[in-house]
């Protein structure tokens, strides 16, 4: 069985006490192998964020079945880390303490957090350094630029060494240069740590550059309409984005999205 397995899932957002409501996704089938990097693209409002919530156990399917690491998802999936378009750092905590926040919550770290605080802080600084944020740990998040905050938010998603990384348009609010820098950061983290990744994005170049497989979703209610393998060889240098093979795949996906929006 695949690491993340979503079978024929439907999700309906019901307002309290009524059966009507928005059908966000329907007949959704998707599977992600262990260690695989998957990108999900699709028109706005098609249920991509809903898909993330289903896979992390924040929402439960109205119909169908979701399993992660072989277990039915019946509650929050603590082996997942998440980062969003909005980095949402807590302004009263130092960046380092923001990164450490998951460890104060998730088992088994929360038990040993107080006694091992020094070791954890070093771990956080190391992780921050690995995304190019040496020394930023002792600054407040609001003293960092948007791109730096997004890097810190990535660190927060990774600090508890999750097996599954969920990224919901993490670079949507950044400029093109910063974005490409962060692509490389993610690429290298994925290569070195080998976590399974699901990336939701609007940027087809981002999807093709990072992912092993790109899923295209239809308009709401969302389902997968295209499953495109990306055969580009790893490790991928950023120059690959100027090659013909790369732009052909992007063009092809663009066509599918245009169809999906009809």
């Amino acid at each position: 069985m695949a690491f993340v397995d979503i079978q024929n899932v439907a999700l309906r957002y019901k307002p309290q006490g009524s059966d009507e409501g928005t059908l966000a996704v329907e007949h959704l089938d998707l599977s992600v192998e262990r260690g695989e990097f998957v990108a999900v693209v699709g028109p706005s409002g098609c249920g991509k964020s809903s898909l993330m919530k289903l896979a992390t156990g924040l929402n439960f399917p109205t119909d169908g079945r979701v399993t992660v690491a072989g277990n039915d998802v019946s509650g929050p999936v603590a082996i997942a880390g998440m980062a969003f378009q909005n980095p949402v750092m807590l302004p009263w905590r130092l960046t380092r303490d923001n990164v450490l926040l998951p460890l104060e919550v998730v088992e088994p770290h929360r038990r040993s957090f107080r006694s091992n605080k020094k070791a954890y802080q070093e771990k956080a600084e190391k992780l921050l350094a690995s995304v190019g944020l040496e020394g930023a740990g002792s600054k407040f998040p609001w003293q960092l630029s948007g791109g730096m905050q997004q890097r810190a938010s990535l660190c927060r998603a990774l600090i508890h060494e999750p097996e599954l990384l969920m990224l919901d348009e993490p670079f949507g609010a950044l400029d093109a240069f910063t974005r490409e820098e962060l692509w490389c950061v993610i690429r290298d983290l994925h290569a070195s740590k080998g976590f399974t990744t699901i990336l939701v994005t609007h940027d087809l170049r981002e999807a093709v550059f990072l992912a092993d497989r790109v899923y295209v979703m239809s308009a709401r209610p969302g389902k997968i309409i295209v499953d495109r393998h990306v055969p580009l060889e790893r490790p991928r240098p950023i120059e690959v984005t100027y090659e013909k093979e790369f732009s052909d795949i992007v063009q092809e996906l663009r066509g599918h999205i245009a169809d999906a929006r009809q």
Binding site: P76, V88, L90, W92, P102, E104, V105, E107, R156, A157
Partner: protein, 264 residues
């Protein structure tokens, strides 16, 4: 030559710091002169010097009653903090509690508190108890609303990040909700202390046998108009002092929330 010397002298003064003192002094001078020019009788509007004289004459009584009012206000305010925080946390805990209790709170708050004082007197008799309770009732509302709002407006992404890690409601509240609502809470204290002060004086003027409000009422009955004004000014000074104290507490406790530099 003299011009440059003068400019450097003027620019060395901190005009922003001086401004409140200059304005206050200006007001009193203007008042004094106006009373003098238009020859206003003292029982309509006494001049500041006359008020100062009355304050001196009745100094000990004024002092004692000011302390009484201060005590009443702080007692009511203290109750408001305790209950306001507790109720604010309770209401902000859950969207359903928030939805259910909010209209009730609004309704309660829109009752004019003057109308409540007679009931309190009926229950507890005239004296300091109704004054403390009025101060409490009038000042706990902004605390509740601010704390509850701080809790109810947690970013959903933050909640998702923590919930996905298996965080309980309690974790989210202690790690995010409560620290987040602290600036709202401390911000509300400034408003609350002013309201508590209004509440205690209000109750003192209706039914009490001590406090500045009571003293004012007695002075008015005896036609001691300068003393009435002296009481008013004593109230103003106390009000400013308490407000300043709370503003200082707010700055000290929630420096991070003032990071924009907009207020500096």
């Amino acid at each position: 030559m003299t011009a440059t010397v003068e400019r450097s002298w003027a620019s060395r003064l901190d005009w922003v710091k001086l401004a409140p003192w200059l304005c206050t002094a200006g007001l009193f001078i203007f008042w004094e002169i106006a009373v003098w020019i238009f020859d206003v009788p003292y029982y309509i509007l006494p001049s500041p010097t006359r008020i100062a004289h009355a304050a001196w004459e009745f100094g000990p009584g004024l002092w004692r009653n000011s302390l009484q009012t201060l005590w009443t206000t702080l007692a009511g305010f203290g109750l408001a903090i305790v209950f306001g925080l507790a109720l604010g946390l309770f209401i902000g805990w859950d969207k359903r509690i928030y939805a259910g209790l909010y209209p009730l709170m609004i309704g309660f708050n829109s009752i004019p508190k003057v109308a409540v004082v007679p009931i309190l007197v009926l229950w507890f008799g005239a004296g300091w108890v109704p004054a403390v309770l009025t101060a409490f009732l009038i000042s706990f509302f902004p605390i509740v609303v601010n704390v509850a709002t701080g809790l109810a407006t947690i970013e959903p992404e933050m909640e998702d990040v923590l919930r996905a890690l298996g965080a309980k409601k309690m974790d989210i509240m202690t790690k995010v909700g409560i620290p987040r609502s602290l600036p709202y809470f401390f911000g509300s204290l400034k408003v609350a202390i002013t309201l508590a002060f209004i509440g205690s004086v209000l109750s003192e003027t209706i039914a009490a046998n001590s406090g500045v409000g009571h003293m004012m009422l007695t002075a008015q009955a005896n036609f001691e108009v300068p003393l009435v004004f002296a009481c008013l000014i004593a109230l103003a000074i106390e009000g400013i002092g308490m407000y300043a104290l709370m503003a200082w507490v707010e700055m000290r406790m929630t420096g991070w929330a003032h990071r924009s530099g907009f207020n500096r």
